[in-house]
């Protein structure tokens, strides 16, 4: 790869072969969407791409703040009832009008798509949609649901006329892929390309590009080469190794933005003896992470600035909590923990680990940007502090199975892991509840709590926040719960990823924190 980079520097002097016409935009995607059905697979590549064709009642801006979409406004009309005013004069791509019936149909269809590997049930669950008139609906819930607008903002609305009885195959063929969005579906060739054309009857601002072509190019170097060769106008998920060089390339314009994805370390909070932490001589020992001082020591032994500067080549931001600045419900008191090797050693001594201990860090390899390299740096930093850390990097499929349910009775297997998390709702309860609330299958909390952290105080305040419709009060409660969990070192935040889009000179992209790549946000200077 080094050689490729060297050669590419030379290539920087060469002009782009074909400057594509200003009307068509070609985008190189890092992952291929699995279907054109907006309710088939709830995963970023699908949700991002289909946002061009379909719209949601509530849209989100580049920082995941809520904006009017197909709904002009929404408000609470009772403790458990929300009223949405739908936009008038919105037409489906076939010319038929958009009404409340389409919304009701969508909420029925979304959780019930056959063969869906990851359904939209989560956003729809516990919500009953009723029609008030053609352009007013009410959504009622069983309990108070302050994050209902965030849930609604995940569901793409489909046409009742075309969606009734339609299977995922009908969306892939284009038969049912009729939306209200700024672009119309033209063609989907699996593995090869997705083509859209402009919807001239769009209700919102007229889209700039007449045609869109998306090409899935999963290999990072090939994606960069496609941009440099002029085969595509823009690529997403630019490999960090190439960013420095592309920055200097006069033909390329980079757009960067902090993402909502936190990279963090989880320790085993639950077991008294944890399998991957051993005494220096290899003998069994009590779980060192049960002692808060050990967790604090790990926190201090890590040099986040060095990881960001060296491993991430500057393309990341050190983290001190679950979400970066600007998000709803975060704490303004929490800052990244400073590197303090002496302090770490002292804490270990106090905890009775003056000689340190042996530890294995497990990490996925290829799931997050530079994941295994970050883990390598962490292992070295901990070893220097006295915790002799070895590293085991695993295929993501293997890692997540074992990290989630590889132990006895489907409990998490590992003692110390590196993982990432992004808040699906775009606010702090979407991180707090799955990550550091007690794992509870019935309540649906702690889904991603692979450290099995459990703190009644955090649980109680989080639950209270989710019963509070008042935004100011809820934000304060979420911040408080976060502060308690972080102070208790429930997990060890490392950094927030920064996403990089690279485009040909003259184009710029409004970088989004949710990692969506939207042609409507690509502008020409």
């Amino acid at each position: 790869m080094v050689f490729l980079r060297a050669l590419a520097i030379a290539a920087g002097m060469v002009l782009f072969a074909t400057a594509s016409s200003s009307q068509e935009l070609k985008i190189g995607l890092s992952a291929e969407p699995s279907a054109m059905d907006p309710h088939y697979h709830n995963l970023t590549p699908n949700n991002s791409l289909l946002s061009h064709v379909f719209e949601r009642l509530i849209a989100t801006d580049e920082k995941q703040r809520l904006l009017p979409g197909l709904a002009e406004s929404w408000k609470v009309v009772g403790d458990t009832v929300w009223e949405f005013k739908l936009r008038q004069n919105v037409k489906w791509h076939d010319g038929s009008p958009f009404t409340a019936d389409d919304v009701i149909f969508t909420f029925q269809r979304a959780p019930n798509v056959p063969n869906s590997p990851s359904s939209f049930a989560g956003g729809v669950k516990g919500k009953t949609v009723t029609k008030v008139d053609d352009h007013t609906i009410r959504i009622s819930t069983e309990a108070v649901a302050p994050t209902l607008p965030n849930d609604v903002a995940t569901i793409m609305i489909v046409s009742k006329k075309h969606g009734e009885g339609a299977k995922t195959e009908d969306y892939n063929s284009g038969k049912a892929a009729i939306g209200t969005g700024p672009y119309k579906f033209t063609k989907f060739t699996p593995g090869d390309r997705i083509e859209f054309e402009r919807n001239d009857a769009y209700w919102g601002a007229k889209p700039k590009w007449t045609k869109l072509l998306f090409k899935p190019i999963p290999a990072g170097p090939a994606r960069v080469a496609a941009l440099l060769a002029g085969d595509v106008d823009m690529i997403e998920d630019t490999p960090t190794a190439d960013i420095e060089r592309l920055k200097k390339d006069p033909k390329v314009q980079l757009s960067q933005g902090i993402s909502n994805r936190l990279i963090y370390l989880f320790v085993d909070h639950a077991r008294d003896v944890t399998p991957f932490a051993k005494a220096k001589d290899g003998a069994e020992t009590k779980n060192p992470f049960k002692d808060k001082r050990v967790r604090q020591a790990v926190n201090k032994a890590i040099n986040r600035d060095a990881i960001v500067a060296r491993v991430m080549e500057g393309v990341a931001v050190p983290a001190g909590q679950f979400l970066p600045d600007g998000y709803f419900g975060i704490s303004d008191k929490l800052k990244p923990v400073a590197f303090d090797a002496a302090g770490a050693k002292k804490l270990l001594e106090e905890a009775g680990f003056a000689n340190g201990f042996k530890l294995t860090l497990h990490t996925p390899n290829g799931r997050y940007i530079n994941d295994a390299k970050i883990a390598e740096a962490v292992a070295q930093m901990l070893t220097r502090a006295g915790i002799e850390t070895s590293l085991e990097a695993l295929q993501p499929s293997v890692f997540f199975t074992r990290a989630s349910q590889g132990g006895p009775n489907n409990t998490p297997e590992f003692s110390f892991i590196l993982v990432g998390w992004s808040s699906g709702t775009g606010e702090n309860s979407g991180s707090l509840v799955p990550l550091v609330n007690t794992f509870d299958r019935a309540k649906g909390t702690g889904t991603a709590n692979r450290g099995r952290y459990s703190n009644p105080e955090v649980d109680q305040i989080s639950a209270e926040a989710l019963r509070t419709n008042d935004d100011t009060k809820r934000a304060a409660l979420l911040a408080k719960a976060t502060e308690i969990a972080i102070e208790d070192v429930a997990l060890i935040p490392l950094h927030y990823q920064v996403n990089t889009w690279a485009a040909r000179k003259g184009l710029s992209y409004k970088a989004r924190s949710d990692e969506f790549t939207l042609a409507t946000d690509v502008t020409e200077k």
């Binding site: 490729l4 060469v14 056959p114 063969n115 990851s118 699996p190 090409k215 090939a222």
Partner: protein
Amino acid sequence: MTAYLLRRLMQTAVVVMVMSVIVFFGVHVIGDPVWLLVNPQMDQRDIEAAVRALGLDRPIWEQYVYFVRGALQGDLGRSFIFGEPALTVIVQRMPATLELAVAALVMAIVIGIPLGLYAGLKPQHALSKIIMAGSIVGFSLPTFWVGLMLIMVFAVMLGWLPSTGRGPTATYFGITSSAFTLEGLRYLFLPALNLALLKISLVIRLTRAGARESLQQDYIKFARAKGLTHGRIVRVHLLKNILIPVVTVLGLEFGNLIAFSVVTETIFAWPGMGKLLIGAIQTLDRPVIVAHLIIIVLLFVVINLVVDVLYTVLDPRVRVARQTA
């Protein structure tokens, strides 16, 4: 002959059975695809529902019995990722791979045979030495590296050819291929060359070795003594004889081209079966992996069978040997 074919068919069934068992249980041991399929935000109950929907909550042997029952009726299961029948997903991508393999094969023949023949006829010539050195390079360089270099040189630096993907297609005689359009050929050239490089080297070496060996043989000397021109000796007598092993090897290599175009397809984002297989392995899309490998096994068996049968037709000695055996 019928007994022979039947025996081959039985062997094939056993191979497919064993392979499917290994892959089925192997993928199961690696991990659970659910954790890569589901949205991380889903709660435990929804994740369990997804597991049930994919049938992954059943014991693995039960899943296998279910799979075999379907397979016997021609249903190899649905892709976990795409939700469509695995066979459909693969067949959709097959034309792109076949097109690439055929193009690579043609390149191997068109480039390999003349160069090999030249090197065989004039072994001391400087050009021959360059050809042979080149073939060693072709053998030893890793495909992924050559692919990246081809992209860097021809697409990025020179800008002559596109770097990625498949071009527009056209349909003639019921075959849809990007090789039928000029633009499509531009897209096809680099990946096909990358895939062909190894085969070109192979053909050069085979042709050269064959030529050098045949030149020493009596029938060539006799033809010379008869006063035939050099050109006629090479074209009619020599080439005909050395082509037999070349054609045999290429026949078998064609299977390799289809089955193992994985690296080339990944680098050039070529929408074929190889790119699909890599994606399926990364996401543990078991139905697609199993179906893909079954297709490949069948393909190899068929190619081997055809080569065997052709042998008996072409070479009387083989026929006699089989009859007496």
